[in-house]
Symmetry: C2
Subunit: 201 residues, 2 copies
């Protein structure tokens, strides 16, 4: 009579959906401690599973971190997609949204855009998710019709916002600059406009 449906958290030897549970626990730990503070054993402990259990779902720590970063790139894509496709939104607005994402998820941002010691960019899912998100940015910043990624414009725009994010997260800049952000991001626009004018006679 009492039908025992296999619920999400099937207690016992088997977990049910350990893979996504590990990713979510990793995401939480990432924001609390930053990358480097994330240990495979701590993630397993959080989920209530033994130290070696994750190896049934990931080849190693790098693969778990890559899966976490993949989630991050998907979130970023979903966040900036409407802004990038709307011609009414300026490049500066896109920069502000990018900045908001980074400051809201500093650990995740560092994992996604930091050195490749923690993630493996040759991972298919990761590189695909990364390209999807970054293409949206390049689309907005690039001179139309040209090989966007080689133009000084988009490179400078990405460098500016990335550097700003990093310096802010690492507390290298004085505090209380929040209302200066739009002005800072707008400083690049005259130069880009000039450069486009030169480039297309």
């Amino acid at each position: 009579m009492i039908q025992v449906v296999p619920e999400m958290q099937a207690r016992g030897y088997h977990h049910g959906d350990l893979r996504t549970a590990l990713i979510e626990a990793g995401l939480a730990l990432l924001e609390r401690e930053g990358p480097g503070g994330v240990s495979l054993r701590a993630v397993a402990r959080q989920v209530g599973v033994s130290q070696a259990a994750p190896y049934a779902h990931f080849h190693g720590k790098r693969e778990l971190m890559s899966a976490i970063a993949t989630v991050g790139f998907s979130r970023l894509r979903d966040l900036i997609a409407p802004l990038a496709s709307d011609p009414a939104r300026s490049l500066g607005e896109l920069g502000l949204a990018y900045l908001d994402f980074a400051t809201a998820n500093p650990g995740l941002y560092r994992l996604m855009f930091g050195s490749d010691e923690h993630i493996d960019m040759r991972n298919e899912h990761l590189s695909a998710a990364s390209r999807q998100a970054l293409d949206l940015l390049a689309m907005k910043a690039g001179r139309k019709g040209s090989d966007a990624i080689r133009d000084p414009g988009p490179i400078a725009a990405w460098s500016l916002v990335h550097g700003l994010v990093m310096l802010l997260m690492d507390e290298k800049l004085p505090s209380g600059l929040d209302q200066s952000m739009p002005a800072i991001l707008r400083l690049l626009e005259p130069g880009i406009a000039e450069h486009i004018h030169e480039g297309q006679p």
Copy 2:
């Protein structure tokens, strides 16, 4: 008759100048493996001393890394001091010199300007050396006579070059951009000039 002068490398129980030997070995290891690849035990091994010997000269790994970063800031200061004090040199030239330093010492740059997980910015020598170097940059980029570090100009300039350095080191940008660097760094100048014009009626 045979006078044994206490040479630099006094073999035996005592090393002679273990402190600076550790710093130099750390610098070498840093460029070969990057931060995170530097282990206290590996540095000690390199110098030919036991694992716990460094603790006679440094309170822990963080303090050794902070000493290494202090050397880095001194080098950077010496490198950019002539450029910063010469009014004939443009901001873009200073940016190129900064970029050269970073790409020539990627591990050291990451240690100096990355997150504070490896170094302790409350360390007196480190913060002093850092301020000396950064003040030179702010002097060049800042609107004269104002509180330089709060102006959008210097913040944007530092962010741009820092972001560019990071993206280059982490191989997030396509290769073969070396000759584009001056153009990228110059894109900010029209915006800064405009902003100064607004700010000083």
